[in-house]
Symmetry: C2
């Protein structure tokens, strides 16, 4: 029984972040959490919640006349899944190339660099 991570689109990812960080919540709470950040119509957000349930990225339980949504997949698993796809598609699976790219082209503070060095040190080398 392998992962079975549902495909979460870009817009859906935004919804998932909210649910991951404050689960469980009602549709309205999701809408409020996004108010100001996105400007999606509430209907749109409800639609996306629905789709995410169908994709089995979210679950819900009834609570009064509303639903309480929770993640059905952990953020970790989704991050890993998305990272793998990206790594494969853009860097041909070579994590070293990917890392080189980000070290060279994206901003890092000195602290970031230090922490990264530590991670490299702690890495259990084969």
């Amino acid at each position: 029984m392998p992962s079975n991570i549902p495909n979460i689109s870009e817009a859906e990812w935004t919804i998932m972040e909210v649910v991951w960080s404050r689960s469980p919540l009602t549709a309205n709470q999701v809408i409020q959490a996004l108010d100001g950040h996105c400007d999606w119509h509430p209907k749109t957000i409800r639609t996306m919640l629905n789709r995410l349930v169908h994709k089995q990225a979210l679950r819900y339980e009834q609570s009064g006349r509303e639903y309480l949504y929770r993640p059905a997949v952990t953020r970790d698993r989704c991050v890993k899944h998305a990272s793998r796809s990206f790594l494969k598609q853009v860097f041909g699976g070579a994590s070293s190339s990917l890392l080189a790219h980000f070290v060279q082209h994206e901003k890092l503070t000195d602290e970031d660099v230090d922490r990264l060095r530590q991670l490299l040190d702690q890495r259990k080398d084969a």
Copy 2:
């Protein structure tokens, strides 16, 4: 005049890789290059070449009765663009988190690690 990087889908990316690495080539050469790797129908590949031209990810010039395709955007720019989107979507734009993730969860040889340390050293710190 900002970037204007066209959106290149996953399947299209495969085509682009071929063109980036051996440009210029004819449709048939792309088809042959992919033979064995993908199993797309030749018609499918021609369709994708066409779409990529419309998206202005590829250009072509006539050569006899065929076209010679070339990239209209560099791989570098596309990699950077895709990396930014991914970074933003999955790691909220924090490159340090992204780097930590890949260092901790993806395979790296000892040489990879050494090279990465060097890159960190060479980094022009602010």
